[in-house]
Symmetry: C2
Subunit: 197 residues, 2 copies
């Protein structure tokens, strides 16, 4: 039944971030009225993408192959590994174009509350990768939250003595950020990491 | 390639009302991380829905059958036809539960600018339906825009002498609406249609 298929699609669309029950209905309406131009291609693209997604056994990235395109790209710098929490953070850094090394996706942060210990994260894979002689630096690009920072601290300790340089992202005023909208922690970090003008 | 399938899906998602390039990316990320729970069911529901949608030859509604479930429902009042601009307006009225008759979907409004005359709209079908003896009333539930109202006026004239009562939606203060946010036209309409308290 199309009515219930449409209803099913609306309920699934409503779960997407940024859409709610009402906007999912509007989105479904839009799709129905553009059946051949948008609805069918979208259904096909989602089905094909869902079918071909693989977890990269090396870095934990999600893409259509294992190892992923980033791990296989000979142009990228294999001496630097950027450790991120999840795929969204990897995409964000890729979008910026500021990093040309390889990644390591942890799949979350350590969290006593949620019962996530080191075994639940892709940390063992990271230490294995760091034992390769070409790896010189690990950048811990974890979020500036309590959990992100304690995870960074834990990984930093695990990599101690491995001979790999461990760094973190700089903290400070966001580019274009107005000072009076910043929280105190960011302002303190920006003052601590002040540089000659 | 999954990467380009994901990219294709992101670009199609970004065309949905309520989503832009950035939120489409977030939505795709959400889907990828919930491949079996959301992504595959959504792809399947969209494909099935796109496949089974029919235009109702009687009223112009879009659903999985022709005639549509509303036209076939023996419980609904066949003496009243509610004329709406498009499927979205039909859904809005159905959601309210305030109407239990049948519908007629015009597929737009008359518009000299966009070159939409009476032939481009489903108006001939409406006059044919109104010639049936059981039809007693046509409610013109068109939007309170210039084009909606001129379309209502045109249809009203076309149905003159058909013996069918033609009505329009009441205009006034929306339920829960604060007066000082209303435009002058609505306030004028509310005053004109004032009723004994």
């Amino acid at each position: 039944m199309a009515v219930s298929d449409i209803e099913a699609a609306i309920q699934l669309l409503a779960r997407l971030p940024g859409l709610g029950p009402r906007s999912a209905r509007r989105a479904a309406l839009y799709l129905i009225q553009r059946r051949e131009a948008v609805m069918q291609p979208l259904a096909a693209a989602l089905a094909r993408a869902a079918d071909s997604i693989r977890v990269c056994g090396r870095c934990g990235n999600l893409s259509d192959r294992d190892p992923c395109a980033i791990c296989l790209d000979p142009v990228r710098d294999g001496t630097v590994i950027c450790v991120v929490e999840d795929l969204g953070d990897l995409w964000a850094i890729e979008r910026s174009g500021a990093f040309k090394g390889r990644y390591h996706v942890l799949g979350g942060t350590l969290s006593a509350l949620d019962g996530r210990g080191p075994e639940q994260l892709n940390i063992a894979g990271l230490t294995t990768r760091c034992s390769a002689p070409e790896v010189a630096e690990v950048i811990l690009a974890l979020r500036a939250t309590v959990e992100g920072q304690s995870t960074a601290h834990y990984i930093g300790e695990r990599l101690e003595g491995s001979g790999v340089k461990v760094t973190r992202l700089g903290q400070g005023v966001p580019v274009g950020g107005a000072l009076d909208y910043l929280d105190d922690g960011t302002l303190m970090a920006a003052l601590r990491s002040r540089q000659p003008a």
